[in-house]
């Protein structure tokens, strides 16, 4: 009895081997499951391992240089130093000492560190990789830091280059470069926090060409951050591809004169080479020194400029939308001729203005009635009002006034108005050309040629940018076509967009343009633009005096020269400059002289000085120009 019980017990104990074997199996299977989840289900560890062990040392390419049309260097690179920090490694750094060395306050240090750690402000944040701590230190600022670098584990130096400018001109065209924002990083995977990106102007428009391609050098790093050589002997390294150089169509001498002449005035000058559409100068006034937008002062200066009531950051040449005034009469002449509303011999009366059914559009004293060419030379308002009235009332040609309006609008659009031209700069405005639905809405369908009469003289709803007006000049100089204006003449190793090499024809024929050219020539010889006349070349011009409901009339000039081999077409637009002849004509004539003869004659130089000193707005010191 006792033995059976003992045997039974022995048998029970024998079964315990299964419990022990079971424990071993459970442990090992649990571990294999854990391995499965660690190694096969999660990619995170792989990435952590890479950022642990691979130090991806970014090799920054040199940004492309920018020269003017004559090969003068405008923008180049200058070395600067960024201080980078690896959060995981910067432990035990004497922050007080660091702040003293860098000349920053402990508060700034703390704030910056918080910013770096904040994944919303710094989307690519990782504890294991270098993060930008401070950017663009000059060689002097950084020399003390370099000496003491060994005291600051986790801090690194990254050599970068910043933009430098040879001339204080063309800030609006050149634009600037700044640190990428979170949106840029989200939009384009190329950028990492701390990278630079073109913010305005050419730098922004041609960012992809200018920036080049970053290279990378993969280094192996041990747990203490020591570099242990190159991964697979640099097999996976990529050298940086330098950015492409750009040649602008801008003539920096012409640009300089333009900015000088526009000192103390608001407005813009655009000059175009008619045969190519290349923009020779693009002045927007008031302007600022592009060098203000470099380095760590960029933020402060940017604030200063954006707070200025005269809006120096606004590129008026492409963003200012002004009534084109009498310069617009050329488009009307072309439209009426092409549509057969008038012939060059058609006479219209003018008794100090257009008077019809109680409506009066004033004009100045000149002989009347007159045909087309003198009407341009004297800038007769009445002539164009009659023209438009006859066109819009012509029910034989157009079934309704809406049809006439649409036809008219098509002409304007074909001449480059109403839509952005497509210049290679960001932020171009489209101006305004009204269409039939617009007036239907505004006048509830009850309108006619008289209602909208002021559009014939470039007033009313019509708005255009100085660029569009200059382009009109180029179109007339070419007798009927233009090439989309652009500021980049040449990209290194790359063709220009066909947009900037293709002619765009207007709806008016070449023969009709000849009459307009004659009218503009007469304006210079015997009309409103006499001050633009030059003994050396035949200038054609048209003034504009645009009524401005907010104050003094705007002064405008559109012209080109020489008449039969046009080299330059220009628009000068001076806000509140009163008569076209007051500012527009003389400034335009000086600009043409500068470009066509390569300089100013002594008398012209005197004249230029006078204009430089005639200020319509106060010139404060906020624009950085006084430093040059």
């Amino acid at each position: 009895m006792a033995t059976t019980e003992k045997n039974k017990k022995k048998y029970e104990l024998h079964k315990r081997k299964y419990v022990l074997g079971g424990i071993a199996c459970v442990i090992i299977f649990t571990y294999i499951l854990r391995l499965f989840s660690l190694q096969l289900l999660s990619e995170d560890f792989k990435e952590s391992a890479d950022s642990n062990a691979f130090l991806k040392h970014i090799l920054f390419p040199a940004r492309g240089a920018i020269t003017d049309r004559n090969g003068k260097l405008l923008v180049y690179n200058q070395p600067a130093y960024d201080i980078m920090v690896v959060m995981k490694e910067q432990v035990g750094v004497d922050t007080v000492d660091l702040c003293n060395t860098l000349g920053i306050t402990p508060e700034w240090y703390k704030r910056r560190m918080d910013e770096i750690r904040d994944p919303r402000r710094n989307p690519g944040y990782s504890r294991y990789t270098q993060q930008l701590f401070m950017s663009q230190l000059s060689a002097e600022e950084f020399s003390t830091f370099r000496e003491k670098l060994f005291c600051y584990p986790g801090f690194y130096i990254q050599k970068r280059s910043i933009r430098q400018y040879s001339y204080p001109y063309a800030a609006h065209v050149l634009g600037d470069v700044g640190e990428v924002g979170p949106k840029d990083i989200e939009r384009d995977g190329y950028y990492r926090s701390g990278d630079y990106i073109g913010k305005l102007g050419i730098e922004r428009q041609y960012e992809e060409q200018l920036r080049g391609e970053k290279g990378v050098e993969i280094l192996l790093r041990d747990s203490r951050g020591r570099i242990k050589g190159r991964y697979q002997n640099g097999k996976f390294d990529e050298p940086p591809v330098p950015g492409k150089n750009l040649t602008l169509s801008i003539d920096v001498e012409l640009q300089a004169l333009g900015e000088r002449l526009m000192t103390g005035k608001k407005g813009g000058i655009v000059a175009i080479e008619p045969s190519t559409g290349e923009i020779l100068c693009m002045v927007s006034s008031p302007t600022y020194d592009p060098r203000m937008m470099v380095g760590r002062q960029r933020g402060a200066n940017n604030n200063l400029l954006s707070r200025n009531p005269h809006k120096p950051l606004l590129n008026r040449a492409i963003m200012g939308q002004y009534p084109p005034g009498s310069t617009f009469k050329t488009t009307q002449a072309l439209t009426f001729l092409q549509e057969g509303i008038i012939t060059p011999q058609t006479l219209f009366p003018c008794s100090m203005g257009f008077r019809f059914k109680g409506l009066t559009v004033g004009c100045h004293a000149h002989g009347a009635p007159i045909p087309l060419v003198p009407s341009l030379a004297t800038s007769c308002n009445s002539y164009y009002c009659w023209g438009l009235f006859q066109m819009f009332s012509n029910r034989k040609k157009y079934a309704t006034v809406q049809d006439a309006m649409t036809r008219w609008k098509d002409y304007m659009v074909s001449m480059g108005f109403g839509y952005a031209l497509g210049v290679d700069l960001p932020g171009e405005k489209r101006g305004m050309i009204p269409n039939a639905p617009y007036y239907d809405k505004a006048y509830r369908g009850s309108w006619n040629g008289l209602t909208v009469i002021s559009i014939s003289i470039g007033q009313g709803e019509v708005n255009a940018t100085p660029l569009q007006i200059a382009n009109l000049g180029a179109t007339i100089a070419n007798r009927g076509w233009f090439i989309t204006p652009h500021v980049v003449k040449d990209i290194q190793d790359e063709e220009l967009d066909t947009l900037y090499t293709t002619r765009r024809y207007t709806m008016a024929e070449r023969s009709n343009y000849e009459y307009v050219v004659q009218g503009m020539r007469q304006a210079v010889l015997a009309g409103t633009c006499r001050a633009a006349n030059s003994p050396h070349y035949e200038v054609c011009g048209k003034t504009g005096t645009a009524q401005n409901p907010h104050g003094q009339d705007h002064s405008a000039f559109m012209g080109f020269a020489p008449m039969n081999d046009p080299k330059i077409a220009i628009c000068v637009y001076v806000e509140n400059g009163i008569w076209g002849a007051t500012f527009g004509v003389p400034i335009g004539s000086l600009m043409m002289e500068q470009y066509l003869t390569g300089g100013l004659s002594p008398e012209s130089e005197e004249k230029a000085k006078t204009f430089e000193e005639r200020h319509l707005i106060s010139v404060d010191n906020g624009f950085g120009k006084q430093e040059r």
């Binding site: 104990l13 024998h14 315990r16 081997k17 419990v19 022990l20 074997g21 424990i23 071993a24 199996c25 442990i27 090992i28 649990t30 571990y31 294999i32 854990r34 391995l35 499965f36 660690l38 190694q39 096969l40 999660s42 995170d44 560890f45 792989k46 952590s48 391992a49 890479d50 642990n52 062990a53 691979f54 192996l220 790093r221 041990d222 747990s223 203490r224 242990k228 050589g229």
Partner: protein, 493 residues
């Protein structure tokens, strides 16, 4: 006659040796050597793998000497070893006792004795001595581990070297001796002791380790407390399943308790974040009352005992918390936290374990290939060629390789159980279970620590971790058993 029996014996060793286990041993040692190569390889210098100044070269020396040592052991008569058990044990106890006095302080450990140019760690060999002695004692006539007196005698034999090793500041090595309780269980120790011990370790480790971790991002709930209370409930239900025959009360306890916990947590997560532990207390109290009621109704003591287990467990958990935070000195608290891997590294909590996980996780399915691991070689993983050697396997051999290593260890351990069970004498069986338990404990703790599942206790992975003492220690432990096993058929001659 003498020569004939001698030849007979030689033949029987070759015939009776368990070549399968020996084969697994060789495979594990070879894989171990590759891992040490991987862990100590330097990208810069491209170390010669057999250069004796490098770790991989030295490990090769240890491997070759181990093979010699193993061969010698196979030639020694197993009865000699058995008869010397007590002397070997006493010798090692004395050695362990004097070690701290002779030892040089190596990273705070006083466990190394320098002999010539080599350093040896007696603690690694004491496992073998203890196993021998315990086997000898338990195999004595009429020794029954289900008797408290005999269990205590055996336990003292185990606890004695343990205490001495703790004095050498090698707590990890000392904890290995707890593995002997697995053998005690096989040899007749009441199962509840093992279960209660395991439960106590669970309460302690989980309760302390996750005390400050929030459950499911609810800041009011401590994950440790929640898991321990839920564990008590589950264990109680499990005991009802094992020790009683009524299924309905078991299901009631299990389902009612778990659904109450889930509802409480959902309430805290989505409605009002509150600490749910009072819900658990109420549920546990209801369960205890129900168990006592069942005990009376069914006239069964088991229910009452389970209720007492639940009460005792809860009491144990809260008193551990109390002792830890209110009774112990801060430096003692730190030591315990270090043991649990909460405070073992200078770079912030969990650095080692995180780096180990990164290294293993980056291995993927196939691994990065021999000598191509970056994490282990660039010293991101601490103790990469000793305690954290499994990281190298994970990184370089990937899931395929590391699962294979674990599978081989499992086969090895199951094989040891098989060998132990086939011993005709209790001495051989007990010794065999000692060997198996020690290996299982090492694999359990070492791999679990690397995978972030068990506390960080610095003990080597058998045959993998770099080091002469541990490799020699494991070799002796195993080969003595193989020698005993090879003589299993002697009785029938």
């Amino acid at each position: 006659m003498a020569s004939a029996s001698k030849r007979d014996k030689e033949q029987s060793i070759i015939r009776n040796l368990d070549w399968f286990t020996l084969f697994i041993f060789v495979v594990l040692v070879a894989m171990g050597w590759m891992s040490v190569c991987g862990a100590s390889y330097d990208f810069d210098q491209g170390t010669q793998l057999l250069d004796f100044s490098s770790r991989s070269g030295m490990q090769m020396v240890w491997i070759l000497t181990s093979l010699v040592l193993g061969s010698i052991i196979l030639c020694v008569d197993d009865r000699l070893v058995e008869s010397l058990s007590y002397i070997i044990y006493i010798g090692f106890i004395v050695l362990l006792f004097v070690t701290p006095m002779l030892a040089h302080d190596i990273k705070g450990s006083l466990s190394w004795i320098k002999i010539g140019s080599f350093s040896l760690q007696p603690a690694e060999f004491a496992k073998f001595a203890t196993a021998l002695c315990v086997a000898k004692v338990i195999s004595s006539f009429n020794f029954d581990l289900s008797r408290w007196r005999d269990l205590i005698i055996s336990a003292i034999l185990v606890v004695l070297p343990m205490g001495l090793i703790i004095m050498q500041k090698e707590t990890g090595s000392a904890l290995v001796y707890l593995a002997f309780f697995l053998m005690f269980y096989r040899e007749g120790m009441i199962g509840s002791i093992l279960f209660a011990g395991a439960a106590a370790v669970f309460y302690f480790v989980v309760g302390v380790r996750f005390a400050d971790a929030p459950l499911w991002d609810i800041p009011q709930i401590s994950m440790g407390e929640f898991l321990v209370l839920a564990g008590i409930h589950l264990f109680s239900a499990g005991m009802m399943w094992v020790y009683t025959s009524l299924r309905k009360p078991f299901l009631q306890v299990l389902l009612f308790g778990m659904s109450a916990y889930v509802l409480a947590v959902l309430y805290a997560k989505y409605l009002i974040p509150v600490n749910t532990c009072w819900v658990q207390w109420i549920v546990l109290a209801v369960m205890v009352g129900y168990l006592f009621y069942l005990s009376v109704r069914e006239q069964l003591l088991s229910y009452a005992l389970i209720a007492l287990f639940a009460i005792g467990s809860t009491g144990f958990f809260y008193s551990v918390n109390y002792v830890l935070s209110d009774v112990l000195q801060p430096h003692q608290q730190t030591r315990i936290r270090v043991l649990l891997g909460l405070e073992d590294d200078p770079k912030g909590a969990g650095y080692n374990v995180i780096q180990a996980k990164i290294a293993i996780g980056s291995g993927g399915l196939h691994g990065k290939g021999f000598l191509n691991g970056t994490q282990t070689k660039l010293k991101y993983v601490p103790e990469q060629d000793t305690d954290f050697i499994f990281c190298t396997v994970g990184e370089e051999q990937g899931f395929v390789g590391s699962a294979l290593v674990l599978a081989i260890f499992l086969v090895f351990i199951l094989r040891l159980i098989h060998l132990a069970e086939r011993q005709p004498l209790r001495f051989g069986r007990v010794y065999g279970y000692c060997v198996m338990s020690v290996f299982l404990f090492h694999v359990f703790i070492n791999v679990g620590m690397v995978l972030g599942l068990t506390p960080v206790i610095g003990i080597p992975l058998p045959f993998f971790s770099y080091g002469g003492s541990s490799l020699w220690g494991f070799t002796i432990l195993l080969f003595v058993f193989l020698r005993i096993d090879a003589a299993r058929n002697r009785m029938r001659h």
